[in-house]
């Protein structure tokens, strides 16, 4: 009970500050009569929201979520292969780094050329940007087993697959989750970059089109929606992490 009220109290601080900030913003825009195309007031942003924003949000969320999930499955699988084969790791890791250092923004037009302006090019963009964190963290996590734990498994004749499922994978979970949390916002970035280059729906498309029309309130609403998408994904992963990794309390974000 007291923990509950404490938590409510804790969440009161950011809520109060956010409300205060919005109020200041509104007042500043009105009192200084800032033109709407430069900075719309919060109320103007709210009145620009309609049903289409919701459907564009769902599109972007769908693209990023698909990219996020596929990249993480693929990245984890690659990490498993790396951990079990030194030659493959040595041969492919530089490629993975090359992929990481190539700016996604530079690749996005190519993706659209290859895969068209639809769903797929955005999913791939999102995957490309999410792939590296999970790969690196999983490799690190899968190798992070205690030497003595490995000896324990060896003493009792544990097989390679037992060492993987009962030791390596659980050991790597905290590393995997920290990659997942990093990727939540990256996944949205990937989808939006993809939408910038060529799309007819999604939040990136909304931002782009509204900028052509100087429709700043709509632009703001799309920017805020994309931020909220990232926040939502991050929060879901955080919740899942607390359930799965019950044995450590991670304080870092």
């Amino acid at each position: 009970m007291t923990a509950m009220t404490a938590r409510i109290k804790d969440s009161l601080y950011p809520v109060t500050f956010a409300l205060g900030f919005l109020l200041l913003w509104e007042l500043a825009v009105r009192l200084l009569s800032v033109p709407m195309y430069l900075l719309p007031a919060p109320t103007q942003v709210v009145s620009a929201i309609d049903g289409s924003l919701w459907s564009h949000t769902l599109v972007t969320l769908g693209e990023s979520l698909t990219g996020f999930i596929l990249a993480n499955i693929l990245g984890l699988a690659t990490a498993v292969i790396f951990v079990h084969s030194k030659p493959i790791e040595k041969g492919m890791f530089p490629l993975a780094i090359a992929l990481k250092t190539t700016p996604l923004v530079a690749l996005a037009p190519l993706l659209v050329v290859w895969m068209g302006t639809g769903y797929t090019s955005k999913v791939i963009a999102s995957m490309l940007i999410c792939f590296f964190p999970i790969l690196v963290n999983s490799v690190k996590g899968l190798k992070a087993i205690e030497y003595e734990a490995w000896e324990l498994f060896s003493t009792y004749k544990g097989t390679k697959s037992e060492i993987f499922w009962k030791l390596r994978l659980p050991t790597s979970l905290p590393y995997i989750f920290s990659a997942l949390k990093i990727s939540t916002s990256l996944a949205i970035v990937g989808a939006i970059v993809g939408e910038f280059v060529g799309a007819n729906k999604g939040l990136g498309y909304v931002v782009l089109v509204s900028s052509y029309h100087m429709d700043t309130p709509v632009m703001f609403s799309a920017i805020i929606a994309s931020a909220l998408c990232g926040l939502l994904l991050f929060w879901c992963i955080g919740l899942l992490e607390k359930k799965v990794i019950f044995w450590t309390r991670s304080e870092d974000l």
Binding site: E146, E148, A149, E151, L152, F153, S154, T155, Y156, K157, G158, T159, E162, K166, L167, P170, L173, I245, F246, W247, T248
Partner: protein, 268 residues
């Protein structure tokens, strides 16, 4: 091994120490890591029903010696690690508890029973794990996770895990090194009680320690190792009566042994 057999062996070895049965022996074992020689022709027999302590400066190769015994490492050519029988069952307790944080105490103790060629059904493993935890006094903490247990309790769980697999020879690498003095003292005597208990199949214990006091109090023989490259420099028998009990630190023989060990440590 049945209890009757164990008792028989006990009396046999007491009456006839000259022909004691060897459980495990290291013969002429040398080992280097890269070009750093660590062990130099180590030979050591571990007899049935004895408690051996290995004493030596840190970094001299005590843990490495235990790893040889476990066959996690192999000696260089010319050396040999021999077991009394091919299916000699060894247990290992590390300096750290090495518990899986995602498993409960019970699941941790069941873990070795469920590895490799499965000798036990889930139910059997559970029963064995429960009784091992009961032996170390953790029967009320079966479903606790390692982070909910104190350091002493974690090390007890690690001992239970080693015991659950019914080892004949138990190897321990500074098992209580990380614990406070009081807990350590308590666990030392618990260990002796477990060793003597007919409920365990335990016949021999080899314990690495850096405490002269502990080695004199617990063991039948103290093996002294020299600094790297280490060999066995001395094996000192401890003539304290068994079973060992609290209060034996007062006996003149205890002081004699401690003094003797101190002297040899200085010479290393």
């Amino acid at each position: 091994m049945t209890t009757a057999m164990k008792e028989q062996m006990d009396s046999a070895s007491v009456q006839n120490p000259g022909t004691r049965e060897t459980m495990l022996s290291l013969r002429n074992c040398s080992l280097s890591f890269g070009n750093v020689p660590v062990l130099d022709k180590v030979s050591l027999d571990v007899y049935r029903n004895e408690f051996i302590s290995i004493l030596g400066p840190s970094g001299c190769g005590k843990s490495t010696t235990l790893r040889l015994m476990l066959r996690l490492l192999s000696p260089e050519a010319g050396g040999e690690v021999a077991y009394s029988s091919p299916d000699l069952s060894l247990g290992m307790v590390f300096q750290k508890p090495v518990l899986m944080p995602w498993l409960s105490a019970l699941q941790n103790v069941m873990l070795p029973l469920e590895l490799g060629e499965k000798k036990f059904s889930k139910g059997e493993a559970r029963d064995k794990a429960e009784s091992a935890l009961r032996l170390v006094g953790l029967q009320d903490y079966l479903n606790h996770f390692p982070h909910q247990l104190s350091g002493g309790m974690q090390q007890r769980a690690a001992i239970a895990r080693a015991l659950a697999a019914d080892p004949t020879v138990l190897l321990m690498d500074e098992p209580f090194g990380a614990l406070d003095e009081l807990t350590r003292e308590k666990l030392n005597f618990e260990l002796l009680r477990l060793w003597e208990s007919p409920e365990t199949s335990l016949s021999s214990i080899v314990m690495v320690t850096h405490s002269i006091h502990e080695s004199a109090l617990l063991s039948d023989r103290v093996v002294m190792m020299s600094p790297r490259p280490a060999g066995v420099t001395d094996i000192i028998p401890v003539a304290l009566p068994s079973p060992r009990e609290a209060g034996m630190e007062e006996l003149p023989e205890f002081h004699r042994t401690v003094k003797e060990l101190r002297k040899r440590v200085k010479h290393l």
